[in-house]
Amino acid sequence: MSQTRLLFFGNLQDIAGHSERIVELPADVHNGADLIKWISGDNAPLRSALSAPEVKLAVDHAITDKESELSSPEEIAFLPPFSGG
């Protein structure tokens, strides 16, 4: 089983309690929505924050729909709205 690095940015790291986590994705995690359900477990605020439509998912640096199938990603980042400049 390969490992996947999960990254949380902005306010999401406050809610998750960490900025990074290494996991082995269970076989029943097929897409981003499944992943959110699995990693948030009983943490309802985390589940709702990660599921928010304005939170994007970057899978190996490509912005991906939460319903798209994951194929052994090395890195998945949860990106809240950007605020540069």
């Binding site: 990254l7 940015f9 902005g10 306010n11 994007k56 998912l57 970057a58 640096h61 912005i63 991906t64 729909d65 980042a77 990106l79 809240p80 709205p81 950007f82 605020s83 540069g84 400049g85």
Partner: protein, 158 residues
């Protein structure tokens, strides 16, 4: 072919130094327009901003945005330097500069770059003020600014 330079800086942004270098590598340009964004103190309430980025991804996204933007304006060269880390009031947070044969293209290019950086570049900003800490999000004004540049933009659709 437009030369694009993107830099993410953890240390202080010395705008004079970077602009002098930009000018010396664009001696044939008829116009150089630059924008320097500084941290506002908001009547001394703000102690600092903390800027976060996603290493490699942020650089890639800014290059992609810059590529799309330079295709729309007649510019020879574009420079984007953005700070990360802790930045105190009055310190520079972003420098954008464009060199072109004529001023209009350079003005518009820099204006467009700034609108895109505000809401399309992967940075996250936390404000540390006398009221505590809060994450800063793009405003409706920021999205209205972005929409000025029309449909042909680099907005992520996902």
């Amino acid at each position: 072919m437009t030369a694009i330079t993107v830099q993410i800086l953890k240390a202080d942004l010395d705008a004079d130094h970077h602009l002098a270098r930009f000018r010396s590598s664009n001696k044939n340009a008829g116009a150089i327009v630059s924008f320097l964004g500084q941290v506002r103190s908001e009547n001394s309430h703000v102690r600092a901003l903390h800027l976060q980025h996603y290493p490699e991804f942020t650089e890639k996204r800014i290059y992609a945005i810059a590529d799309d933007i330079v295709a729309r304006f007649e510019v020879d060269s574009l420079l984007i330097i953005h700070r990360i880390g802790r930045i105190e009031p009055a310190a520079p947070i972003v420098l954008a500069a464009a060199a072109a044969a004529h001023r209009r293209a350079a003005f518009e290019c820099v204006d467009c770059v700034m609108d895109y950086l505000k809401s399309e570049a992967p940075f996250w900003k936390q404000e540390d003020s006398s009221n505590g800490q809060r994450w800063v999000y793009p405003t409706s004004g920021d999205s209205a600014d972005l929409q000025r540049w029309g449909e042909n933009c680099t907005k992520e659709t996902a």
